[in-house]
Every structure is written in C-alpha cells, then in structure tokens.
C-alpha cells in the first residue's frame, strides 16, 4: 500500500487549513430508505483550498451524504450550510447554483457526443436555438490550466476512463462548481492514471476549490487528502488531519475496534506478501502441480469482440491473477473459457482433455465454474427463488439423477447452513438478497460444481468487489480451500491489492491480449500498472 505523499503536496502548504474559509457545513443530517437508516445525524465540514477525503466502508453512508449535498437526495432532517448561507436544495440544479458539482462513480456522459459537446451541453441553460458547438479552443486551454489535459474533440466513447473523468470534472467546473465531489474516482483507473488525477485535484484545491473525495481505499486517501472525515454506519466518527493520523487509527475509526482487528489481519498479510513473498506460496509455485488449464494460441474475432492469448497455464493448487483495466478483454476471456464465445484458432485443454470444441454444459461437467463479475445479472436468476439460482449450472452436473425440485431445495437448505448464506429459506427471492449473500451462494454453488469433478478451475472475476470484511474473508478462504482440494483459480480482478495478495503469478490483459507475465517474486505495482495502460517499455 503506497503511503508516500502525492507529488505536489507537502504538509507545510496545508498547515494553515484552519484559517481557510468554510465551504460546506453539514450538521445532523439523517436519511432513511425504508427501514434502513443510511445517515444518522452525520456531520461534515469542508473548507476551500483543501482536499477533504470522506472515508468509510461500503454502505457507511459516504455517497448518501454527498448525494444530499449535491441535491440528489432530500435529507429527512439536518442542516446544510454553504459558505455560511443555510440552503435547502431539492435538485442537482439547485446544488449547481450553489456551486456544488459531483462526479459520480460511473461516468455520466453521452458517449456519442464529443467531450466538448458534453461540457457545453451542461453549460447552456435554456434556448432551443442556442449554439453550443463553439468555444472548443477556449475550453481546451482552460483544461490545460486546470491540469486536466484531454482531447475534447474526440467522442466520449473513444476516450479512456481516466479521460472521461477529466471531461466530467471539466463539466462541473464549467458549471461554476467551487465545491467538487468525486465519488470513488479511482474505480476505473490504473495506478498511472491515479497520479495524474490526484495532481489535478491538488492543483484545483490550491487554486481555492474545495475538493471532496469519497473513498474506501486508505492509500489513496493518504496520497491526496488534507483532511479526512470517517463515516461508520451513517454516523460521523471524526475528522482528522492527514499529517497527524496513522493508518491503524483510521482503520479503527472505519470499522470500530472489534472488526478492526480482523481487518488488520487481512491487510497485514497483504502488506507482508508484498514486501516478501509468502514462503508457502513460493513453494507452491515452484513445486507447481500438474497443469489444469492450458490455453495456447487462442484467437477470437467475433464482431467487435477480440481476444488473443498465446500462452496461459494454470496449475493445480495455484492462483493465477489477471490484471487489467475493465474492458480490455476480461469478458472475452471468461466467455472463451466457459464456452459462450468460440475461438477461431488455438487450443484449450482442461487436464488432459481438449475442451476447445466442448459445449458450456460439457465444460461445466469437466470442471469449470465462474464467479461472474456481475453477480445478479450474470450469475443468478433475480426473479426466481434462491434454490433455482443455486441450481443454475449445478444442474449440469446432476444429469444422471432424477429431477426433483424438493431434493434441490433440500440441498440449497444444506448450503445455506454450511456456507452461512443469510437467506430465510431456499424459496427466498434471489433479487432480495444482499450482494454479499448472493456471492456466498454463488461461491457455494461453484464449489459444488467443482467438487463433482475432483477439483476444477474456478474463474473468479472481481470476487470480492463490493463485499465487506467478512464477505471478503469468506471468498478468499474458499479460494484457498479449493487449492487444497486439487483445484485452481484464475483470478481476474481490477483490484491490484487483491491480486498481489492472492496470486502465485500475474498476467496482464491489455487491448484484448495477454501482454505480460510476472511470477510472485517480480510483482511490481508500477510495472504492472504500466502494462495495464499499454505503456511502451524501454
């Protein structure tokens, strides 16, 4: 975890932050969604000229609090003061009038329009006939000034995620935002892009803007923020200055004391393995079980879908990580492995068996299971009862048995108990389950599928994304469990920390091809980051 300060920030420039003018003051803000109390008298104060991080676990209420500030949600109670003036905002337009702009986690731009058109669209108020296609030059030079260089003449759909974010920031600035909220801005970025974004944020802050950064990643917060406010379960735990707070103190604030111990164990191992390879893992990699999955010379060309994999081997008892920015062929890789996307050339072998031409059902029976990226839409039957979701895919391995829904429900009930799935009964509707619960059910199902073939290949895509500490540990424990039972894991993840912690080997996907390969001893965050971006190597 990199805790070195951002390139343009030194503690000295921030010493006088107490004297800066207060930009936003939120007191006692509460907000409920049905029975769920998302915010419980939360407080938050941000000043002009500082970068203020809002830190907390998933579901702590960070985004909800900022959605109140940006006018998307109306708080049930509480006061919001902007630059000393009490405001009552009922829409994002209201918020924009008060100089609040928010860049959401997923870019909200019109893909078919150029960056400039997107910005201009936001700027023009009314008037059907008003031209908005001029002033591109001025806008670009303005962008340079802010430290957000981006080609505004390109259509947004052709821009990289990092560039789209810049366009969004620019759009908010052009709307006159002086309080800029960034919701998890690094979700889609590579480490190289982080630095660019963070230096831009710092530059904006030093010009007097108030930047609010929502995050649950400690190292990001340490890299860029001046002030850090921690939320837990909808309440404000406290605000600290970055110069006088430690990571441990923040973890305790985020999780409460009991959970913090557990979490530190998790992140602790992460740091340890980065510093020096875990001996057991290294041994595993050296001893190298027999190859389970061998992919060679695969070329896919199907409409816009492309994939090139020259060589990929996953051995039994091994986790192979696949790093890469989303959209660089992850989906295609999963589809080729499970069989929903055919290959034009190349060979796929599972154990001794050539599965290049095998159907999805045959592959599942041979021992391939997927933990999909989008659990609800790729891995479950949302409107159906849980037992049907649990049976999906698993039913391919039960072919010889008579079809008996009652027995399937019994098996689901058993899995609910064994894996701690928080569902009322096998008849609970899948879509009503929380993301973590659903992931447990899908993990349970995948292990059942693989156990039918005496240890198989689990293709896990972002398996712990959006999970809390307990859920993350559950998933990782079961991945390791699978290794002990003769299985192997292909871990496709956008989370480098996770890849570094779990993988015996990391390959990088860039531009629909596997481009580089690292064994555990050579893991290097910046080289892998550069590969993810496709940077030329000397």
């Amino acid at each position: 975890m990199s805790s070195d300060p951002g390139p343009t920030s030194t503690p000295a420039t921030r010493a006088g932050s107490e004297s800066l003018a207060v930009a936003v003051d939120m007191q006692g803000v509460s907000k409920s969604f049905g029975a769920v109390r998302a915010l419980d008298s939360a407080c938050f104060t941000a000043r002009h000229g500082e970068v203020h991080a809002l830190l907390g676990e998933n579901g702590a209420g960070k985004t909800t609090l900022m959605n109140v500030l940006s006018g998307l949600y109306l708080a049930d109670s509480g006061e919001v003061t902007i630059r000393g003036e009490a405001v009552h905002m009922t829409s994002p337009q209201d918020a924009a009038r008060h100089g609040v702009g928010m860049v959401h986690q997923h870019p909200e731009l019109i893909g078919a329009f150029t960056g400039h058109e997107n910005v201009a669209l936001a700027r023009t108020g009314g008037g059907l006939g008003r031209r908005f296609d001029h002033g591109c030059q001025e806008l670009e030079s303005l962008a340079e000034q802010y430290g957000l260089p981006v080609d505004l003449r390109k259509r947004v759909c052709d821009l990289a995620m990092g560039e789209r974010q810049k366009v969004e920031i620019l759009r908010e600035l052009c709307r006159g935002a002086t309080i800029l909220i960034l919701d998890e801005p690094t979700t889609h970025l590579t480490p190289g892009e982080f630095d660019g974004l963070f230096s831009a944020i710092r530059q904006l802050a030093s010009s007097g803007l108030s930047a609010i950064l929502i995050s649950h990643k400690l190292h990001e917060v340490f890299a860029v923020a001046d002030q850090i406010t921690v939320l837990r379960k909808g309440r404000t735990v406290g605000t600290r200055s970055r110069s006088d707070v430690t990571q441990d103190a923040l973890i305790t604030m985020m999780l409460g004391t009991a959970a913090a111990e557990e979490a530190r164990a998790v992140t602790g191992t992460a740091e340890k393995t980065q510093a020096a390879p875990q001996p057991s893992a290294a041994e595993r990699a050296e001893s190298g079980g027999p190859p389970l999955l061998t992919v060679s010379g695969v070329r896919v060309r199907s409409g816009p879908r492309r994939l090139e994999v020259d060589e990929l081997t996953v051995r039994r008892g091994e986790i192979v990580g696949v790093a890469g920015v989303a959209g660089n062929g992850q989906r295609e890789l999963v589809d080729v492995l499970i069989g929903t996307l055919g290959t034009r050339r190349g060979r796929l072998c599972l154990g001794d068996r050539d599965i290049t031409k095998a159907s999805v059902a045959q592959r599942i029976r041979a021992g391939i299971a997927v933990l999909p990226d989008d659990r609800l839409h790729e891995g479950s039957l949302p409107s159906a009862p849980l037992w049907q979701t649990y049976t999906l895919g698993l039913h391919q391995t039960l072919r010889s048995a008579r079809w008996d829904p009652r027995d399937l429900r019994r098996q689901t009930q058993f899995a609910i108990g064994e894996f701690g799935i928080a569902a009322r009964s096998p008849n609970a509707i899948t879509a009503d389950l929380s993301g973590g619960t659903l992931q447990r059910a899908i993990v349970a199902r995948s292990l059942r599928i693989l156990s039918a073939s005496n240890g198989g290949l689990l293709v896990a895509v972002n398996p712990t994304q959006g999970l809390d500490v307990g859920g993350t540990r559950f998933v990782r424990d079961h991945l390791r469990e699978l290794l002990r039972h003769n299985g192997a894991v292909l871990l496709i993840s956008e989370d480098l920390d996770e890849l570094f912690e779990l993988s015996d080997q990391i390959t990088v996907l860039f531009a629909q091809a596997l481009v580089a390969e690292y064994v555990r001893g050579d893991f290097d965050r910046y080289r892998i980051g550069a590969d993810m971006l496709g940077a030329e190597r000397d």
Binding site: V360, I364, E378, L381, P405
Partner: protein, 368 residues
C-alpha cells in the same frame, strides 16, 4: 418492443413457480374485484346502448351455460382457446412472446385437412388421429421459423409471429378457394373434410372430444414445466438469459421448446377446430383466437393449468355475447366491446393492485 415482452413475462414466477405454490388470497380478491368492476362497466355500456343490463347478463349466462347445448358450444370454443393460451403460456415461460397463435392454427388446420383428404379410406382411428398429428407438426414447423430467426439473427419473435399470421391466413384462404374449393357453395370456403375424419362427439349437442385433449395437454405441459429439468431451464432462460447461457443452457433448444413447442399446441388447436367444429377451411377459421389466447395466457399468469378456467370463461363470454345480437338486438360491435372491457379491467386491476400499498399491507399478514 422488448419492454412489452418484459412486462408480460415479468416476475410472477414466484406465484406460479415450479413448486405450484398457493396463490395469495389478496390476488384472488383483486381478481374478483376486477371482474365485478368489469361487469359494472359492461352494464353501463349496455344501459347506454338501450338494453337492460340484467337481461343482457342473463342472456349471456343462459346462452353459455344454461343448457346442455349451450355448454357444449362453450366447451367447443374453449378448446382452441385453451390450446392457444397454453401455447402462449409456454413461450412466455421461456421469455418469448408468441403472437402468432392464429397463424399457427391456420398452419395446423391446413395440415390437418391435407392429411384428412390424403388418408381418405384409411381405418377410422387413423383418419381421426393422423390429421391431428399433422396439425401439431405443421403448427410446430410454422412457429419454428420464428424460433430459428430469433436464434440465428436475433430477429424479434413478435414481428415474425405477427407477420406469419398473415401468411397462414391467406395461405388458408387460397387453399380453401382454389385447391380444396367447394363447387357447390358459392362461399369462400373449402369442401368439408371426409366424415370419417371428424372428431368423435359426446352427448347429442355437437360437443366434440377435443376439449379433453386440450385439458390433458394443458395439465401435462404445466407439470412438465414445473417438474422437469427442461422446464427449469426454460424458466431460467426467461429469468436471466445471460446467466442461463453461462450455465450451459442451450439457447437454441430453449427457443425451439418455447416457440415451436407452442406452435405444436396452437397447431393442434387449429386441427381440432377444423376436424371437430368447422369441418371446412376458410379465412376466419381462427376467429380471434390468436389475440384472445395471449390475453388468456396473461390472465392465467402464464400457468397452463390456470389457462383452463380462464379459457372457459372467455369462451363462455364469446358464446354468450354472440347470442346478445340475436336476442336483445345489440350490434355485433357491442359484443366485442364487452369482451375487450372485461379483459382490460382485469389487467388494469392487477396492475393497480400491484402498486396499492393498502393491498400490500393486507397481504403481508395474510401470507404469514
């Protein structure tokens, strides 16, 4: 257009799920209320048209249920409607909307007539069964066109099935007036099928045994849907096509089962209508069965067994309101108006009930 399909195949699998779970009380209440409202609206319409509502409704009931012959008539009308609605229910289970029941019925009737003429002189049992088998195959193949187009090029089955309705209808028209034309009658109908190919009847009022075939098929289809691997896979496909494909469920097999399987049922319905009730082929054989079937399947919440009472009620309405024209001199259009009103009110009532907070609160303790 996909939105329409989504709307119709939406999350009601919890109610009609494979466990065949009981229907919540609140839904029954909604249903009954909707029917009452529909009757009230219909009564208003009758009053406006200058008829006594009570007399009108009395006529409807008397002419659909009031006598053995009326009941036979109603059951005869139920048969194609039931098979058609089971066809739509089956395709909805797989997440597809089959709007081509009418076309598939024509295809079935054409094949049945071809088999009936071709096998003239064969033993009676062959003469009766062969046309029905031919009808089922014909309907299935006709619907398979939509299934294959859907699978290969993602052509929306809505358009294909609707357009094939015209193909089926005018093919029947052409065959009836040119190929199998009857020189005796001047009308645009074919010559009748051989007497030996006519479905056996029961009683003395023209009721044919097709209704038993239809009920048997509806029950069998529903049991198959709820208690088989393929039934589960169909349900999975409609609930989430992406996840289903990743779980190794064959999209081609599912679209064939849903659409061509439905075509088999609808084709059989057309064949039975020909050999049991009409005996001649003509443009109009599949009166409004195509669209009524879609309504029936939706009202029955895509459950083929529930299609039985729904189809029976709709058939009773058709038979009963037809009599209104003769007895209280209502214009023919008023009849269609009433049918439309009833169905519309029930659907509307369902939608409103889903959104009603009061009903949601009432159903919470009721289901405990």
């Amino acid at each position: 257009m996909p939105n329409v399909t989504e709307l119709l195949v939406r999350d009601d699998s919890a109610v009609t799920g494979p466990e065949g779970s009981s229907i919540p009380l609140v839904e029954v209440v909604t249903y009954v209320c909707a029917i009452l409202v529909a009757l009230a609206v219909g009564a208003t319409a009758f009053a406006v048209l200058g008829a006594n509502p009570l007399t009108a409704y009395g006529t409807v009931i008397h002419n659909s249920l009031g006598s053995a012959s009326a009941l036979s008539q109603t059951l005869n009308k139920t048969t194609p409607l039931l098979l058609g609605s089971a066809a739509v229910a089956l395709s909805l289970r797989g997440g597809f909307l089959n709007l081509g029941v009418a076309g598939q019925m024509y295809a079935g009737a054409i094949c049945a007539m071809w088999a009936a003429f071709g096998l003239e002189g064969a033993p009676r049992i062959v003469e009766v069964i062969a046309p029905l088998v031919a009808a089922a195959i014909g309907g299935g193949l006709f619907a398979a066109v939509a299934a294959v187009l859907r699978h290969l090029w993602s052509v929306n089955e809505l358009f294909v099935t609707v357009m094939l309705n015209f193909v089926g209808m005018y093919a029947a028209d052409w065959l009836a007036t040119r190929v199998w034309s009857d020189p005796v009658t001047g009308n645009a109908v074919s010559k009748p099928i051989p007497a030996a190919a006519q479905l056996p009847t029961y009683g003395h009022y023209g009721g044919h045994i097709g209704i038993f075939i239809a009920i048997a098929f509806a029950i069998a289809i529903q049991i198959w849907l709820s208690h088989s691997r393929r039934g589960y896979e169909l349900n999975a496909m409609s609930a989430n096509p992406v996840a289903s494909k990743m779980a190794g469920i064959s999209p081609l097999l599912m679209v064939l089962l849903a659409l061509a399987g439905g075509g088999v049922l609808a084709g059989l319905g057309g064949g039975i209508e020909l050999t049991g009730a009409q005996f001649v082929l003509f443009n109009g054989l599949s009166a409004n069965y195509g669209f009524m079937s879609v309504l029936a399947a939706v009202l029955a919440r895509r459950n083929a067994i529930l299609c039985i009472p729904v189809a029976f009620v709709l058939a009773g309405l058709i038979v009963g309101t037809n009599a209104l024209q003769a007895t209280i001199q209502l214009p023919a259009s008023a009849v269609l108006l009433l049918e439309g009103l009833v169905v519309l009110t029930i659907l509307l009532g369902e939608c409103l009930a889903k959104r009603s907070k009061l009903l949601a609160r009432l159903s919470a303790p009721a289901s405990e």
